[in-house]
C-alpha cells in the first residue's frame, strides 16, 4: 500500500514516474491551485460579470494580434541586434568593443519602462504618429538585443580553444571559422536561453502600452476602465500571453533535453 503510494507520487532519477502517475500528480497540483484561487476569490465575494467585457471582444482580439505583430517584428530584429553587438564585443578594434559593452550594460541595468520613455521622447517625437507600432518594436528589440548579445557571447566563448586551433591549423579564414565551426557549435548552447528570451520579449511588449500602442495589455486597460470589471479584463490577457509563451517554454525544455543528449 505504502509502496503503491510511493510509486504514484514520488520519483527520482533511479525510478522515473510513469505517464499515468505524472498525469495524476499534474491534475492534483492544478486542482489544488484552483482551489486556492477560488477560495481567495470567494473571500473577496467577487461578482463576476463577463457580459460587458464580452462586448469588447474585438478590442481584445485586435490587441492580441497587435502583440503578435510586435513580437513577430521584434524577435528577428533583436536577434540581429544581439548578433551584431556580440560580434562587436569581439571586434579587434577596441572602441567598437566598448560601444557594445556600454550599450549592453546600460540596457541591462535600467528598466525597460524607463528606456521606452527615453527612446520615445528623444527619437519618437520626430516620427509620424502612425509609426508608433514600428518604433515600439524597435525599442523592444534594442532592449532584448542586449540580453541576446550576452547569450550569444557566452555561446561563442563556450566554443573550445582546441576547436579554434583546429580551424586555424586547417587554414580557415576568420569568417570561415565563424561560419563552419563557431556558429554551429554555439547555436546548440544558445538555443535554450534564446527561447526563454523570446518569451520575455512577448511579455515585455505589454509595456509598450504606455506609448498608446493598442496591443493586448492596453486593450485590457481600456476595457477595465470602461466596464470596471478588472478580473474579467485581465484574465483573458493572462491567458492570451500564456497561449504565446507556453509553446515557447515547452520548446525550450525539449531543446535543453536534446542538448544534454548530444554532448
Amino acid at each position: 500500500m505504502i509502496s503503491a503510494l510511493r510509486s504514484a507520487f514520488f520519483a527520482d532519477d533511479r525510478a522515473p514516474a510513469s505517464p499515468l502517475a505524472r498525469a495524476a500528480s499534474f491534475a492534483l497540483a492544478l486542482g489544488l491551485l484552483s482551489l486556492v484561487c477560488s477560495g481567495a476569490l470567494a473571500a473577496l465575494s467577487y461578482h463576476w460579470s463577463w457580459g460587458p467585457v464580452w462586448d469588447f471582444r474585438r478590442l481584445f482580439w485586435n490587441g492580441w494580434l497587435t502583440t503578435i505583430g510586435i513580437a513577430a517584428l521584434a524577435l528577428p530584429l533583436s536577434c540581429l541586434l544581439g548578433l551584431a553587438f556580440a560580434l562587436l564585443r569581439r571586434s579587434s578594434f577596441l572602441p567598437l568593443r566598448y560601444v557594445a559593452r556600454i550599450y549592453v550594460e546600460i540596457t541591462r541595468g535600467t528598466p525597460l519602462l524607463v528606456q521606452i520613455y527615453f527612446y520615445w521622447y528623444i527619437f519618437g517625437q520626430q516620427l509620424p504618429r502612425d509609426s508608433r507600432f514600428l518604433a515600439g518594436a524597435v525599442i523592444l528589440s534594442l532592449f532584448s538585443g542586449a540580453y541576446l548579445s550576452e547569450i550569444i557571447r557566452a555561446g561563442i566563448d563556450g566554443v573550445g580553444r582546441s576547436q579554434l586551433e583546429s580551424a586555424r591549423a586547417i587554414g580557415f579564414t576568420r569568417a570561415q571559422t565563424y561560419r563552419y565551426v563557431i556558429f554551429p557549435q554555439a547555436l546548440r548552447r544558445i538555443l535554450p536561453p534564446f527561447a526563454g528570451e523570446f518569451a520575455s520579449i512577448i511579455k515585455n511588449s505589454s509595456l509598450l502600452s504606455v506609448l498608446g500602442i493598442e496591443e493586448f495589455a492596453l486593450a485590457a486597460g481600456t476595457v477595465s476602465s470602461q466596464t470596471y470589471s478588472y478580473f474579467e479584463s485581465y484574465l483573458p490577457v493572462a491567458l492570451g500571453y500564456l497561449l504565446l509563451t507556453l509553446p515557447i517554454s515547452l520548446w525550450t525544455q525539449s531543446l535543453e533535453k536534446r542538448a544534454r543528449f548530444e554532448t
Binding site: 582546441s162 586551433e165 583546429s166 586555424r168 591549423a169 586547417i170 587554414g171 570561415q176 563552419y180 565551426v181
Partner: protein, 244 residues
C-alpha cells in the same frame, strides 16, 4: 623535409620558452623532437605550423622562409600542412566523415562528391569506414586520433606535424596510433613528431633533436643520439627516462 631554424625566440608573459633556438637538420624524412616538458618542443612545432609567431628568428622550410607578419601567406602555409594535436581537436559537431570533407571542400576547393570520395578512401585506409557517420564523442580516443590523422593526410600535405599524438591515450590506443604513424613513414611521408615515446622516436625518426631550456642542445641520426648522446643534458635526460 628541409628545415632550417635560426635564432628563434619566443616568450609568454615573462617566461622565455624558446631562447635563441637554431638548428639545420639537413634533409631527413622524419624528425622527432624530444626533451623534458616545458623545454619548448610544442611551441617550436606550433611555430613551424604557423600557429604561433616567434618574437624573433626565422623558420625556413623547403628553402622558403615563413612570413610570420603576413597572415595571408601564413594561412597558405597552414593549408599545405597536416597538423595532429594531442587532444585530437576534431570538430565536435561534425561526423568523422564531415571532419574530413569540410577542409577538402572549403579550403581546398574540391567538389562535394570529390571530397567525399577522398575522405571515404582515407577513412577506409585507417579502418574507420564503419565509423564515418559517428560524432567524435561516439569514438574512442584512438579512433578519434586516427580520424584526426586521416583528416591531416586527406589534404595531401607537404609535411605532417604530430604534437604528442599519443599523450592522451592509454597504451593499447597508443599502439594503434603509433602503428598508423609507422605506416606513414613506410610510405615515405615527411613528418615532424613531438613525442615522449622514446622507443618509438628511435624506431620511426630519421633524425632526433633534443630540446631543453628553449634550445636545441643536440641533434643527430636516431641511433646515434640514443646510442651515444654527446651532451650531458641529453645523457641525463635519457638516463632518467629510460631508467624504468
Amino acid at each position: 623535409m628541409k628545415l632550417v631554424l635560426h635564432n628563434l625566440t619566443k616568450s609568454f608573459a615573462t617566461h622565455r620558452v624558446l631562447d635563441g633556438l637554431s638548428g639545420d637538420f639537413g634533409e631527413p624524412r622524419s624528425l622527432a623532437l624530444i626533451g623534458p616538458s616545458g623545454g619548448g618542443k610544442s611551441t617550436l612545432l606550433r611555430i613551424i605550423a604557423g600557429l604561433e609567431t616567434p618574437d624573433a628568428g626565422t623558420v625556413t622550410l623547403e628553402g622558403e622562409a615563413l612570413a610570420f607578419a603576413d597572415e595571408e601567406k601564413l594561412r597558405a602555409h597552414r593549408r599545405r600542412l597536416g597538423v595532429v594535436f594531442q587532444a585530437f581537436n576534431l570538430f565536435s559537431h561534425l561526423t568523422a566523415l564531415a571532419n574530413l570533407t569540410l577542409p577538402l571542400e572549403k579550403v581546398h576547393g574540391l567538389s562535394a562528391s570529390e571530397a567525399e570520395h577522398l575522405a571515404r578512401e582515407a577513412l577506409r585506409r585507417f579502418h574507420l569506414a564503419d565509423h564515418a557517420h559517428k560524432k567524435p564523442a561516439q569514438l574512442s580516443g584512438g579512433q578519434q586520433q586516427r580520424v584526426a590523422i586521416a583528416r591531416a593526410i586527406a589534404i595531401k600535405p607537404r609535411l605532417l606535424l604530430f604534437d604528442e599524438p599519443t599523450s592522451a591515450l592509454d597504451p593499447e590506443m597508443t599502439a594503434e596510433v603509433l602503428e598508423v604513424i609507422e605506416e606513414l613513414k613506410d610510405e615515405g611521408r615527411d613528418f615532424l613528431l613531438v613525442t615522449h615515446e622514446m622507443g618509438f622516436a628511435r624506431h620511426v625518426a630519421d633524425r632526433v633533436a633534443f630540446l631543453a631550456d628553449g634550445r636545441i642542445v643536440e641533434h643527430a641520426p636516431a641511433e646515434e643520439l640514443f646510442g651515444t648522446p654527446r651532451s650531458p643534458e641529453c645523457r641525463d635526460f635519457l638516463a632518467r627516462i629510460l631508467k624504468y
